[in-house]
């Protein structure tokens, strides 16, 4: 093969140009959710029990978070061949549709449609806060206490103390914990086994891998252990990200497996503030071309933004922990983000949407 000097130079120029392109593209990462545009979504959940084994019940979470700054529940409607009633958790106000079918019903089915309005959240933590924005003593105590899956004593407290050592303000403490989650959580194949499902066992085993219900629960527990109110917000992604993040949005109108919990922290002077360190790790793992470096511009942008902001392409169900489902023979559940069911006294597998047979679809209605 013969390459003359002129062609070689051309190829060299082209090569330089192509090599520069990704850099230019990366510099354009724009991830700046900002409140101002409300969007309305309709979310439909259809649930069927394929092989009922006697008396069958189901509990379907309904959007029940109402905060005037970013989300409003516009109600739910349902049809079913069972007996349905709206139920509400007495401690957290989490709403659910409780449906019961008699043993003779061979094809239990329920379809629920909920509507919500939501918008982006963002708070500028570099501006001085308003000291009059504070949480009452009772609410502060409630949101710093431990739960079944989120103990705040023992190894959780020790870990939290180590992370926040040397920090002074609430913002510094929460930011230190947020950074710790982003830096330290991942799945390590060398770690033996799993925890037993709570954050203390995650820390004891050193297996800090997991999804949002693990990572953001760990974040919430460490923040609570530092004496700062925090809570998980359980919900589901309802639309693609308009900032181009494939990993941070619903891929299609079918959102059956798009459940995602975020986290809020209460910062004196600012109120409940949006955070989502688990989504930073999701960008690292899943954002194309996947397995991004921690200093990749898309990761860096998510890391910066998701401390204080999140995009309104997600619907909150509730902020509840340790719920007892009305009429259930089972134990309390750690959180209610998936439809739950039992048939003939046996718990159905809530994350196996194919066997349990449910489908969730989302549709944007109009701009509010």
């Amino acid at each position: 093969m013969h390459i003359d000097r002129r062609s070689f130079l051309k190829a060299g120029v082209a090569l330089t140009f192509v090599a520069e392109l990704p850099g230019l593209a990366r510099a354009d990462v724009n991830f700046e959710p900002a409140p101002g545009t409300w969007r309305k979504f309709q979310v439909m959940t259809r649930l069927e029990i394929a092989k009922p084994a006697g008396i069958t019940q189901a509990w379907i979470p309904l959007p029940s978070v109402n905060q005037k700054a970013w989300i409003r529940s516009d109600g739910s409607q349902w049809t079913t061949n069972g007996k349905a009633a709206l139920a509400r958790d007495p401690r957290y106000g989490a709403e659910m549709l409780h449906v019961a079918w008699t043993a003779g019903q061979e094809a239990p089915v329920v379809e629920v449609t909920s509507r919500i309005s939501t918008q982006d959240r963002a708070v500028d933590l570099t501006r001085p806060g308003n000291p009059s924005i504070d949480l009452g003593a009772a609410e502060r105590k409630f949101n710093t206490a431990g739960t079944e899956l989120i103990p705040v004593d023992g190894i959780v407290k020790q870990t939290s103390d180590n992370i926040v050592a040397g920090t002074k303000t609430e913002i510094e403490k929460v930011h230190a914990i947020y950074e710790w989650i982003v830096e330290n959580t991942f799945r390590d194949a060398k770690v033996p086994g799993c925890g037993i499902g709570d954050i203390a066992s995650m820390l004891k085993t050193g297996n800090l891998g997991g999804k949002c219900a693990d990572l953001n629960a760990l974040f919430v527990g460490l923040v609570r252990a530092a004496g700062i109110p925090a809570r998980d917000v359980y919900g589901i992604r309802v639309a693609p990200s308009r900032f181009g993040y494939k990993s941070l949005g619903a891929a299609s109108e079918v959102i059956t497996k798009a459940q995602h919990c975020r986290a809020e922290v209460f910062l004196t002077g600012y109120g409940w503030v949006a955070t989502d360190p688990a989504d930073v790790r999701k960008v690292v793992l899943e954002e194309p071309p996947t397995h991004l470096a921690i200093d990749d511009p898309k990761v860096a942008a998510a890391r910066k933004t998701l401390f204080g902001a999140w995009e309104g392409n997600w619907m909150a169900y509730n902020v509840a922990h340790d719920l007892r489902l009305p009429g259930s023979s089972g134990p309390q559940i750690g959180f209610l983000m998936y439809p739950q069911g039992e048939s003939g006294g046996a718990w159905l597998d809530c994350i196996d949407a194919d066997a349990f047979k449910y489908i969730i679809k989302s549709r944007e209605l109009t701009t509010a």
Partner: protein, 123 residues
């Protein structure tokens, strides 16, 4: 006493090994498995695909795991005939390479020590 979960990846291969261990022990070892924080139907489906001869109990709310101070899954406690702990294995383990006679012989913990296996790469 074998604590496991169907949602725990490193647990799933170990149950058939424990089943074979119990068979090799000719009635001198009894395995009792405890599914931690698992849905009933998940355990049933798992056991339909991977049948075992020993009893599998459901610890739906982690009460038993907490009482036994289990932090990692899988964890196996070997008890002697008087239900005193002989061995604790805090990892998945290659039970096919293990002589069940060692479990029924003199206890390595008779000297007062708690024998523990933590090596995850033991299989």
């Amino acid at each position: 006493m074998h604590f496991f979960a169907t949602w725990c990846e490193s647990c799933r291969e170990e149950l058939p090994l424990l089943n074979r261990l119990e068979a090799r022990a000719n009635g001198k070892v009894t395995v009792l498995a405890i599914a931690v924080a698992d849905a009933d139907r998940s355990v049933q489906r798992f056991l339909a695909a991977t049948p075992v001869d020993f009893a599998v109990l459901l610890d739906r709310d982690r009460t038993v795991a907490k009482a036994w101070r289990v932090a990692a899954l899988p964890t196996t406690f070997v008890l002697d005939a008087d239900l005193r702990p002989k061995l604790v294995v805090e990892a998945d383990y290659a039970w096919d390479t293990f002589d069940p006679g060692k479990l029924t012989g003199p206890s390595p913990m008779d000297a007062g020590e708690r024998a523990t296996i933590k090596n995850a790469n033991s299989r």
